[in-house]
Subunit: 437 residues, 2 copies
């Protein structure tokens, strides 16, 4: 069989990474694996595996960051609670796009949302000793579960695909009624399936969180990137549904990586609801020496994790968020490119017998965006990835994201114009390979 990569090379590379199966590979491990395969084969891969921005970083941000460097910020420790300009801008961005009020004081810059999630998981799991579990609404970003594992925090999860709309409340209650759920975590739009929770479903989540005193952790990495939605006709700004109208106990993870293509600088904001920021507990005091959630977050966690966040990158995100909130910077037109790419890729995939695994969003078809999910007949995800890798196409096994369904997470971000034809050829190779097997 004529493939790009032979099985033995894949085997030996995985051994070096100390990983037994495709399901156990982290995204970053896959990236390094695929880099190796490209080197060994001399052939370019179709990089479906990683959500690297495939667009240039926002020029608005780069200009602001360079100005900040010229103004001397590189020698000055950033304030632990963040630079005032970014705190103000984040608060304003949240007001304009989501319609929620979070005081600037409670918008805390973090080293990517990765750090924001790490600190949030530490804090929410210490608020109340009886509440020791994080509930993940899956499929989800695998590293957020690795974070819980690294921290030794208990976790539960369910695949939301079969529990949309009115089925969501009873499913949530099944977990929450144990009294052990400290927080509910999800992303919206969803990584990896691009399903979008509706306003009704977010109300359900908020009401359930209130009933059982759980914190809602809403990952807004892809905020406003559901391109089926139009801008608000009165403001002209994009909008995003959120849990914020339905509970006072929330944490919003606002990353600059995707909407502003600023992943390289590791810059984000964790916005903690005003009520949660001020919340005190004896358990927090026992664990961290301070009783309030906000003080623990800033003075114990951000302090010890990294003593704050790149000063110049904060100034970049401040300007991007501020101009976006003012309607002066239409970042959404830049990232809409991903939806166009996904549409073309889906056409090619379908032609070669692939299907979209998570195809429905309640009763609508799932939109085109950054991520999508692909399956091939009844092939298991690990086997599918193994076959695709041999043909120069990579991706993430869906079960590693907590999915109940078999397939691959793919991302359109790394796709360049010449890749459409290449994908076509590689999928033809794939069809031959599996037909021969």
């Amino acid at each position: 069989m004529n493939t790009l990569i032979d099985s033995a090379l894949i085997e030996s590379a995985m051994q070096k990474l100390e990983v037994a199966s495709y399901e156990d590979l982290s995204i970053r491990q896959l990236v390094s694996l695929v880099n190796l395969f490209e080197k060994e084969s001399g052939e370019e891969f179709i990089h479906f595996e990683i959500g690297v921005p495939g667009l240039p970083a926002s020029q608005v941000g780069i200009d602001a960051q360079k100005e900040a460097l010229d103004s001397g910020v590189a020698s000055v420790y950033p304030a632990l609670e963040g630079e005032p300009a970014l705190k103000q801008a984040a608060s304003k961005f949240i007001r304009s796009i989501i319609g929620a009020e979070v005081a600037p004081a409670h918008c805390i810059p973090t080293v990517g949302s990765m750090q924001g999630t790490f600190a949030t998981l530490m804090a929410v799991s210490a608020l109340d000793e009886k509440k020791d579990t994080i509930l993940y609404i899956d499929p989800g970003f695998p590293v957020q579960k690795t974070q819980a594992d690294v921290l030794g925090i208990r976790r539960e999860a369910f695949d939301v695909y079969n529990y949309r709309a009115e089925k969501l409340a009873p499913k949530l209650e099944e977990y929450l009624s144990t009294g052990r759920i400290a927080a509910i975590l999800y992303s919206n739009p969803n990584n990896p399936t691009w399903m979008c929770l509706t306003d009704d479903e977010l109300r359900t989540i908020g009401e359930m969180a209130n009933k059982y005193d759980a914190i809602v952790i809403e990952d807004l990495a892809y905020i406003t990137m559901d391109f089926r939605k139009d801008v608000d006709p009165t403001t002209g700004l994009p909008t995003q549904v959120s849990v914020t109208p339905y509970t006072d106990n929330y944490v919003l993870l606002m990353s600059g990586s995707k909407i502003f293509s600023y992943a390289g600088e590791r810059i984000a904001v964790t916005a903690i609801s005003d009520k949660l920021f001020e919340r005190k507990s004896e358990a927090l005091k026992r664990r961290f020496g301070l009783p309030s959630f906000g003080n623990v977050f800033v003075h114990k966690l951000i302090y010890t994790l990294s003593s704050g966040v790149s000063h110049s990158a904060q100034m970049a995100l401040a300007r991007m968020m501020d101009q976006a909130a003012e309607g002066l910077y239409n970042y959404r037109d830049e990232v809409r490119e991903y939806a166009n790419r996904t549409e073309r890729i889906r056409e090619i995939l379908t032609r070669h017998g692939f299907h979209i695994v998570y195809d429905k969003d309640v009763d609508e078809p799932v939109g085109n965006g950054f991520f999508f999910t692909i399956g091939y007949k009844d092939m298991k995800g690990g086997e599918l990835l193994g076959n695709l890798l041999r043909c120069g196409v990579s991706g993430i096994v869906l079960t590693s994201t907590g999915a109940d369904y078999e397939g691959i997470r793919a991302c359109s971000s790394a796709i360049k114009p010449h890749h459409y034809d290449l994908l076509d050829q590689r999928l033809a190779m794939f069809e031959e390979l599996v037909a021969g097997a």
Copy 2:
């Protein structure tokens, strides 16, 4: 009594921070306290409390960082193991300045040495379940102990002042012989006292670490800033003694914050000895799912803590380290300014009845550098800080650094030319205050 700040204001501000005594204030809490006092009193403080670089950031770094931003790095996720240019430069810098060999692959960029220490503490404490304790050679940087507390890692410490030279080995053995010490942590030059461990003492630490299988964590934040030492006559480069010749199990924390005045960008390198990087243990595998120290550090810790480090700041540190290692960039001449300031400040302090608490470095007087320690008669550190704050001078209570002796840690970095006269006046006010009390 005529002071700048009255006691009631100090009381109420500390209440808001939820802190009971001066000893319990973190450095960053003190900074925000002092900012408040300046606002309330309308008077500038003498900021002895924080080690912010008091010099502009290295222009070499700023130029490199801006070029990196222009070249498009802001959209590209940094590699978890770090960008090749920085890994190469760090390895070369270590070879030139310390004379040690650490492979570029084992030099891992971190978000400041704060993140490097956090990840290192997590990893070393999981290598062997019986070894659950970090031994701090005190006085030390208080936040490194807060890190252990936040992580729930047991710690021990002793003040090294009375255990220098031949007294060090038996003192170390007292702790190591329990079999519970996972790692020994110290800074050299020492924060807060500016004492410098000698080559003989570092040999002792290395030998003891070998005997009891402990990891040595050497914080080199102030590398080559012992200005009593001259450059190497053959290379013309500054040099630094280190534990590296005496053990194969070490972690070097190399910060860009002080030597390159780059604190604002949160950039550092954690250099893990080749042997430790490859070391495997069943305990690591149980705790983190991977058996080798280096893989855990990169693929479990750096990944989940922040998914890597600002891409542009990595390029800045790469150029600064590379040029310093080549002898093209004499960063040491820039930071020598701190020693000059400390010399003048010490003269003023002595004139007002203050003394240097940690005055001796084995049998030499302690050198002038970034930090120094001050006492006043037999006044306790908390009382001394309380009185100094009322007179517009701040600092850190020494006991919070694990010191057995009473006094204040002071830093010369924020001192500007007009501050010498101001300090003189403030100390006169202090003398009146304590005479009247």
